[in-house]
């Protein structure tokens, strides 16, 4: 374990903790971006270059931009997270998470350390090495994921456009209906 490993570990854990504890939603999102970026660096260290760049492009670039966009769109400018209605939930959650961590650590305890660099044949995790696998053994999985992505795109578009039918009713008509309703009361 080198100083680099230690540094990245500290960065990862610190940014993850910040992401789940910060009050301000945008700050939490930024902490998550930092987490993803340091994770990408860890991927580079683990000979997964392509994956690292994809991590930056897809996660840090696209996914988190979407997250922050929605946060800025829905919350007010300060984006503070509301009051906690279940204050006893927090220690309980911490205890559960700790228990889960111990269980995972126990499960992982049998796995040996990372091999030294010499006897690894990962090809740096470059697209050339990955492509053969991706479009060989994993072809049908890739196709399934592609179908899922397509379905998700359609679903997302249809989810956020339900009020189009409503908008076709002229605003004057809606206003008249509202007034009629008030008179009826």
């Amino acid at each position: 374990m080198s100083a680099f490993d230690l540094l990245m570990g500290v960065l990862l854990i610190a940014s993850a903790l910040a992401a789940v504890t910060l009050k301000n939603a945008v700050h939490a999102g930024l902490a998550l971006v930092a987490n993803f970026l340091s994770l990408a660096v860890v991927y580079f260290a683990l000979e997964a270059q392509f994956l690292g760049w994809i991590q930056i492009i897809v996660y840090a670039g696209a996914v988190m931009v979407l997250f922050l966009f929605v946060i800025m769109l829905l919350f007010d400018a300060k984006a503070d997270v509301g009051l906690d209605r279940l204050p006893w939930m927090r220690p309980l959650a911490a205890a559960l998470a700790a228990a889960f961590f111990l269980a995972l650590a126990y499960a992982f305890s049998g796995v040996g350390p990372v091999n030294p660099l010499a006897d690894v044949k990962l090809g740096g995790g470059l697209p050339k090495a990955l492509g053969g696998l991706l479009y060989g053994n994993w072809l049908y999985t890739v196709l399934l994921v592609a179908a899922l992505l397509f379905a998700a795109t359609v679903a997302a578009v249809s989810l956020v456009q339900p009020q189009i039918r409503k908008a076709r009713v002229k605003p004057q008509v809606l206003e008249r209906d509202r007034e009629l309703e008030e008179v009826g009361k």
């Binding site: 992401a19 987490n35 897809v58 997270v81 998470a97 992982f108 990955l130």
Partner: protein, 97 residues
């Protein structure tokens, strides 16, 4: 036990804490992303320790899945916010049953 696997377990636990302790849908969602990433880290470090690229392929597919999930999830959050003016999961209790 591998250092990166330990990190992965820790990240997963932190993500779990986030899911349980946060009350806002978006932040819960972000914690889920954290958990997905910890699984990815485990896969990549498995790939590294076994000298087999398949772990990285799986991690790639997980990233693609996460992108799909985010698209749908954020769509749902926006749609719910439109009808309910809130993103807190407590306000969505009437969705059950």
């Amino acid at each position: 036990m591998s250092y990166y696997l330990l990190l992965s377990a820790l990240l997963f636990a932190i993500g779990l804490y986030g899911v349980l302790a946060r009350r806002t849908a978006i932040l819960i969602f972000m914690s889920i992303e954290l958990m997905l990433n910890s699984a990815n880290l485990a896969l990549v470090s498995f790939a590294r320790s076994s000298g087999n690229l398949e772990g990285q392929v799986m991690a790639l597919l997980v990233i693609a899945l996460a992108a799909a999930e985010v698209a749908v999830g954020l769509g749902i959050i926006v749609a719910v916010f439109r009808s309910r003016e809130s993103t807190s999961v407590d306000d969505l209790a009437e969705f059950r049953g």
